[in-house]
Amino acid sequence: MDLAVGAKAIRVIMEHTSKNGEPRILKACTYPLTAAGCVKRIYTNLAVIDVTPQGLFVIEMIPGMTLEKLQTLTEPKLQLAPGWQALAPPEAPEARAA
């Protein structure tokens, strides 16, 4: 909670859906909140989504994904950001050595 409230920008990394395929990006959270209105960007295994006062904007999606398909896996309305790109990281990103 200290982190969620204290850091200048909060970004979240999580699977797009639960193990049962239920959306984890919701109109309202069902689990108790850590902090309200703090998340600015969400990185999932399917897309990168910006949280703005105008709503959720998809800025990247994995190749083959469409906004319609992504919408079925997401509860609140998604909008496609102008200039959105493919989410295509290296197949096996090279980890920096310690």
């Binding site: 200290d2 902090a35 998340v39």
Partner: protein, 154 residues
């Protein structure tokens, strides 16, 4: 259509970390991001158990059992990195000195509300498990929503 792996998700988030930023990594996938910062870019990682200048995951066989992050994972210290008191590590957070915090989550709402501390049934892999052992289990009616600005030090 192939969903990203945990490593690919961490890699993608790491690409967005700006040069010179002070960054805290949460438990789980975010921890992996320390290993994927682009070469030549300096990002200073903070861990709330008291590390400023946390490095990537140690190579197999080179783990130091006393060198752990807030999620109890073995980690490393970069050249120039330091240890601070647990309370000071939290003062850095509460004083608003961290630029980015990359966190895991169970749920996020369209307004940016974050739910990442309990599903009411599980206990997190915390470096401070005594909090969970000693605290009474709160009743459902006592869940509260902390306001983002309420406890921010000015």
């Amino acid at each position: 259509m192939i969903p990203l792996t945990r490593e690919q998700m961490a890699w993608r988030a790491a690409q967005d970390l700006p040069e010179g930023a002070y960054v805290n990594l949460g438990i789980g996938i975010p921890t992996l991001a320390a290993s994927y910062v682009p070469a030549g870019r300096e990002v200073i990682f903070h861990s709330e158990n008291g590390i400023l200048g946390m490095g990537p995951k140690p190579e197999p066989g080179k783990e130091d059992p006393y060198m752990v992050d807030a999620g109890k994972n073995k980690t490393t210290l970069v050249t120039g990195g330091c240890f601070v008191h647990h309370a000071d590590a939290f003062l850095m957070i509460r004083g608003g000195h961290l630029d980015v915090s990359l966190l895991g989550a169970f749920e996020v709402s369209e307004k940016g509300d974050l739910a990442n501390w309990t599903t009411r049934h599980s206990r997190p892999a915390s470096a401070a498990p005594w909090i969970w052992r000693s605290a009474p289990r709160p009743s459902a009616s006592s869940w509260s929503t902390p306001a983002r600005t309420a406890s921010r030090a000015s």
